[in-house]
């Protein structure tokens, strides 16, 4: 039965290496005293680097494929449960980059919080393994295991500040709602399995194609769709399934808030795209109206709630909810009745740029955490420009990028999505979305105002560790460079747009 060969393991190598290093960090940590915990960070970093090398190896295989003049086809492993295509490779890189930047930004923050433990880094690595399974899974079981591995690791990371009540409360809320949503999701998956008799995404897609044939009762497929979608909407924090996000974001250690909001979100999107495009494709006529409703609710809820927040982390929690709404518009445009690949491309570009700019934002907030100053209230940012001009300018860059102001990376995410909406004839949605973009400019401006136009309440200097500098430099440079010269990044996204060439999906998109 086990027809596994070497290629299977090569495809799983990025995940295997990460697991190995995560276990290694757990053991090394036992030997380290309090002052040398930074070695854990280096070990985790090495794990990410090795994993990236393994991903690069897979990427080379795709290049070989192209060099031989073959059409790009995904690699399958482990009896078709793991499907590594270019789409997955793109997300692998994204997760690894996000995790690396998060680790850079974490060391000093954890020392200040006095919670510097090796488990932190091990859990980040484990959650990346889970994310990779979500991005490359071709089987409901693997996708679900990946989701849970990611989620459980994140639950613990959210509550990592054991002595902080907010952190504990956030972790508990996140755990309860997360478990609840996983249950709903699993219920949906079991119905899909019941309909198709298989956990393989392609087989499910075929079975749903038959079930959706005209004249058949669609009750069970509809219930399966709704429960699966509800579970997924929980994970990406779309309104009305978003209530956990502000609490979890506020309570979590700031570095983890950043990590959750980019890598966690990107992985949930990878999962959502896998399921909606690969498995639920034939149900497009049913789910597009749901997506429209949820997207409008998400943009409205996220943007309006963000307007009045006084806590920066909460504000960015709502802002990230709003961004989910925009990304969802890309899916609507990509799968609607006049479908086009620009929608899906927009999602990938959006997730790419969002990774850098949002991590940057949380990096700046994390660097404000000093002894006795939590630094996550809006007032704590007052006069930051006069205390730490470089950080304030970086933060301004990230804010403007989030608001979608052109010379910066964030614009391109919105650009592709709005373009796709217009191409597919969704003028009303496009107009609504741009109005909300303008609304969002207001709350980003509130943050900018505090930094540049108010006077500081305290004179405690902001000191920044080398790791944080590196993290901020990477995110800041990426935000500016992608904005001014997006060509190589767009080429990367186009390369990974293999998802649109997959036979099942191509049929859906044409």
């Amino acid at each position: 039965m086990p027809g596994f060969h070497r290629g299977d393991y090569l495809l799983a190598l990025p995940m295997m290496l990460l697991t190995l290093f995560a276990l290694g960090v757990l053991l090394i940590d036992l030997l380290l005293d309090r002052s040398s915990k930074v070695i854990n960070a280096w070990a985790a970093f090495a794990g990410l680097a090795f994993s990236a090398a393994a991903v690069h190896n897979i990427q080379r295989a795709f290049a070989d494929q192209a060099a031989r003049g073959e059409p790009s086809s995904p690699f399958f492993a482990f009896s078709g449960t793991l499907m590594v295509d270019r789409f997955a490779v793109f997300f692998f890189y994204l997760f690894l980059a996000a995790a690396a930047i998060t680790i850079l930004m974490s060391v000093r923050y954890l020392e200040v919080e006095d919670e510097h433990h090796g488990e932190y880094y091990a859990l980040i690595l484990f959650s990346v393994v889970g994310m990779m399974c979500m991005a490359a899974g071709n089987d409901l079981i693997l996708l679900f295991i990946g989701l849970e591995l990611m989620a459980v690791s994140t639950y613990i990371l959210v509550g990592f500040l054991r002595r902080d009540r907010r952190s504990n409360e956030a972790a508990l809320k996140y755990l309860l709602l997360g478990a609840f949503s996983s249950g709903i999701f699993a219920y949906g998956l079991s119905l899909l399995y019941g309909l198709a008799g298989s956990t393989n995404l392609q087989q499910i897609s075929m079975a749903l194609g038959n079930a959706m044939a005209p004249g058949k009762a669609r009750v069970v497929p509809a219930v399966a769709l709704v429960t699966t979608a509800a579970g997924l909407f929980f994970k990406i924090a779309a309104v009305p399934f978003h209530q956990w996000a502000p609490d979890a974001y506020e309570g979590a250690p700031t570095s983890i808030t950043g990590f959750m909001s980019v890598a966690g979100k990107a992985s949930a999107w990878a999962l959502l795209l896998r399921i909606f495009l690969f498995a639920l494709g034939p149900m497009r006529p049913l789910y597009v109206p749901i997506l429209v409703f949820v997207a409008i609710a998400t943009m409205t809820g996220g943007n309006l709630a963000a307007l009045t927040q006084s806590n920066v982390k909460r504000l960015f929690a709502y802002s990230s909810i709003a961004h989910v709404g925009y990304i969802m518009l890309g899916l609507i445009a990509g799968t609607a009745f006049l479908p086009n690949p620009d929608g899906i491309r927009g999602i990938l570009v959006y997730l790419l740029v969002y990774t850098f700019m949002n991590l940057g934002v949380f990096g700046v907030i994390a660097s404000l955490r000093r002894r006795d100053i939590i630094g996550d209230e809006l007032d704590d940012l007052n006069g930051l420009f006069f205390k730490a001009p470089t950080e304030a300018v970086l933060m301004l860059t990230f804010l403007l990028s989030l608001a979608g102001i052109p010379p910066l990376a964030g614009f391109y995410g919105k650009y592709f999505i709005f373009l796709a909406l217009i191409e597919s004839g969704h003028y009303a949605l496009a107009t609504l979305a741009v109005i909300y973009v303008a609304v969002s400019a207001y709350y980003y401006l509130r943050v900018a105002n505090a930094m540049f136009m108010r006077t500081a309440g305290d004179r405690v200097p902001v000191t920044i560790s080398p790791g944080m500098w590196a993290g901020l430099a990477i995110t800041g440079a990426a935000t500016v460079v992608i904005g001014i010269y997006p060509e190589p990044f767009l080429r990367m996204v186009n390369w990974s747009m293999h998802v649109a060439q997959n036979p099942t999906v191509a049929q859906l998109l044409r």
Binding site: V434, Y442, M453
Partner: protein, 508 residues
């Protein structure tokens, strides 16, 4: 069409200067000021010499100069910049006003000097970019890029309610410009290009789009963005706040150049791309323009604050520009372009003058002043001269623009001309009344007794402006000869032949 690098040089020279400026040490404030002045003066000469460059005929139709490179392949975004008779003078106006802004900020800005001049230089690059960009994406890029330095200038260096004013300014323009973005994306989705020189012929060859419903919505998408910027009544409410709270240099560039982005956009894109829709909608736009002229003048009259008065006078003057553009007559539209330049010089000068008073007394209240003419004779002379130029005294610049606009308006519809002309009278009323209250009569306020007259630096700021007001009043053909061809080019698509009867030069 001559390929050249001068446009890029003029566009990015201030930015390069600004980046070098950042490298100057923090304490060296005078070095920062001198460097900023040097860069902006250099920029002025670089920009002004284009007008005299041999081999480029701005008096002929067509784009005089361009640079066109691929920037991003998908989406197809090009770095396409063009100078023609309209954009050339707006670029020169920007380059003319910025060094003056540096001069007037010499003393009045003493905190965070480096950042101030850096923002000013970035703003200059963004403004220049707006006027030369011919790729719609590039245009939007520069358009939004002007927002940030301006908002920061107001918010960091402004007066009392600066944060409120800065946010209001930012939000008004940001909200409005997203509609333009939707329209631009629609055009890209249908033409596969952002390039003006591709989109315009495409629209010409697809009359069902340009003259249909789509054309109307696209026109409105662009229009709303420009209308807020101009600002056209009733979207003007951000303007008084922004002006009153902005530092003097900010006000000068805001009134002198930023508002022109709106009118320039109306002419170049709204009328240039959608002539059918523009003609169909001209009626209510002209009515709004006239309301703006009269409303702005009436509100200016009752302002207790000097700066607010000048701000509302801008609303009134920009009404003339909009009226001129939407008469679709060669006289009116060329006059509108001329009026843009006039307004930049006159209102820029007025803000500078008001700023000088503020530096001395730290108030804008008209009632605080009186009888200043005897204390500050040189200053008063400049002020009166600029006031006369602003209200359109013959032989000064304001007259030429207003006259052309009104003659165009009469040609279009007599009632526009009659109502518009009343605006000239109103402006004489509020400006002269203000001059009377500030400079003549009894000085009852002891604080005014020891005010120093204009210093050498201030005179250096005011002389170029006054000279320019005079030259533009007596020799408008220098400007009009190169403004007319592109204007005619634009109007060719929009106006019936009878409106083209005007012969350049015959009207003076």
């Amino acid at each position: 069409m001559t390929p050249t690098a001068i446009i890029s040089i003029v566009t990015f020279l201030p930015l390069a200067g600004g980046i070098i400026l950042l490298a100057l040490p923090r304490g060296a404030e005078n070095a920062v000021r001198r460097w900023a002045l040097f860069v902006t003066v250099l920029e002025f000469f670089a920009a002004a010499h284009i007008a005299f460059m041999p081999g480029h005929h701005f008096s002929m139709s067509g784009w005089a100069m361009e640079e066109n490179y691929a920037w991003i392949s998908t989406p197809a975004i090009r770095y396409h910049v063009v100078l023609d008779g309209i954009s050339l003078w707006l670029v020169i106006l920007t380059a003319f006003l910025t060094p003056l802004c540096v001069l007037i900020s010499w003393r009045s800005v003493h905190d965070r000097v480096k950042e101030f001049f850096f923002l000013l230089l970035v703003l200059e690059t963004a403004l220049t970019g707006v006027f030369v960009a011919f790729d719609l994406f590039l245009f939007y890029f520069f358009w939004e890029a002007t927002l940030i330095p301006m908002a920061l200038l107001i918010g960091m260096y402004g007066h009392g309610r600066r944060i409120y004013a800065s946010v209001k300014f930012f939000l008004y323009t940001a909200v409005a410009s997203v509609f333009m973005l939707v329209a631009i994306l629609w055009l890209y989705a249908h033409t596969g290009s952002f390039d003006f020189t591709v989109i315009q012929p495409w629209l010409r060859s697809h009359p069902e789009v340009a003259a249909g419903n789509a054309g109307l919505w696209l026109f409105l998408g662009f229009f709303i963005a420009f209308a807020v910027k101009v600002p056209i009544f009733p979207l003007h409410t951000w303007l008084p706040d922004a002006h009153v709270e902005a530092p003097t240099a900010g006000s000068v560039l805001l009134a002198g150049v930023l508002l022109k982005m709106g009118t320039y956009g109306l002419l170049r894109f709204c009328v240039g791309l959608f002539p059918e829709a523009a003609r169909a909608q001209a009626g209510w736009i002209n009515v709004l323009a006239i309301i703006g002229i009269i409303y702005g003048a009436l509100v200016a009259m009752v302002q207790p604050s000097l700066k607010k008065l000048v701000a509302y006078s801008s609303v009134s003057h920009l009404g003339f520009v909009v009226l001129g553009i939407f008469t679709f007559t060669a006289a009116g539209t060329a006059g509108a372009v001329y009026q843009m330049l006039n307004h930049g010089v006159s209102t820029g000068a007025l803000f500078i003058l008001v700023g000088m008073l503020y530096e001395r007394r730290h108030t804008f209240e008209i009632s605080e002043f009186g009888g200043l003419a005897s204390r500050m004779p040189v200053y008063a002379a400049f002020f009166v001269f600029i006031t006369l130029s602003s209200i359109g005294l013959p032989l000064l610049n304001g007259f030429v623009g207003e006259f052309l606009v009104l003659s165009g308006a009469f040609r279009d519809r007599a009632i526009y001309g009659i109502l518009g002309a009343s605006g000239v009278i109103w402006s004489a009323c509020y400006m002269l009344w203000m001059v009377q209250r500030v400079f003549y009569g009894e000085n009852r306020n002891p604080a005014n007794a020891l005010l120093p007259d204009a210093s050498a630096r201030e005179k250096l700021t005011l002389w170029p402006l006054s000279a320019m007001a005079l030259i533009m009043g007596v020799a408008p053909m220098i400007w009009l000869s190169s403004i007319n061809p592109p204007v005619e080019q634009i109007l060719k698509n929009v106006a019936p032949a009878s409106h083209m009867a005007y012969v350049a030069g015959g009207q003076k």
